[in-house]
Symmetry: C2
Subunit: 110 residues, 2 copies
């Protein structure tokens, strides 16, 4: 899978997944792979910086959880601004995909 296609879509994916419920980083990596049927992979080294960007932009908010047993987890929840952004990005993505399809279209019709 060409890695370049992913550009800019990871934020959209994260906001979508966090829009459903609170999640922590390691969990998100697995969720992406599972939900995409293994077609989409995001490394954790990629994920965390994206989460920091989203946090800095005010789209998500973190919360540490220190369980009695197990490694501490940093849970992220989406903010209201994050929900707005998710909507905006989703619309933008769909428009882009439609625009690209309009170009590939004739190829598909052959």
């Amino acid at each position: 899978m060409s890695r370049e296609f992913k550009r800019g879509t990871i934020e959209l994916v994260l906001l979508t997944l966090l829009g459903e419920r609170e999640r922590y980083g390691y969990e998100i990596v697995a969720a992406i792979e599972e939900r995409s049927g293994g077609r989409l992979e995001v490394r954790d080294g990629t994920l965390y910086p994206v989460l920091y960007r989203l946090e800095e932009a005010g789209f998500v908010a973190p919360r540490w959880e220190n369980p009695e047993r197990g490694v501490p987890r940093k849970y992220y929840r989406i903010t209201d601004e994050g929900k707005e952004e998710a909507k905006r990005l989703t619309a933008e993505w769909r428009e882009f995909a439609a625009a690209l399809d309009a170009i590939l279209e004739r190829e598909g019709k052959r």
Copy 2:
């Protein structure tokens, strides 16, 4: 339109357009904008380097045309390898879009 979405798709667009018929750079810029309904824009400063990459990879081949009147144009035609690559990239794109849709899906159902 988030510029990042375009990443990696320009080669696919070029190979698709050149797969239809021979075209020159300046013409391609206009074709992309027209075919996408103005939703997709590619600058010529972006286009030419992509064409060189495709040429170097053997996916397209250039031909200069010096008309009696008018600025010289460099026409590109697609090669057999280019057609293969176009098919490959198209399939990859569709798979990627499907994978992303699988993640956005629930959002869309709401």
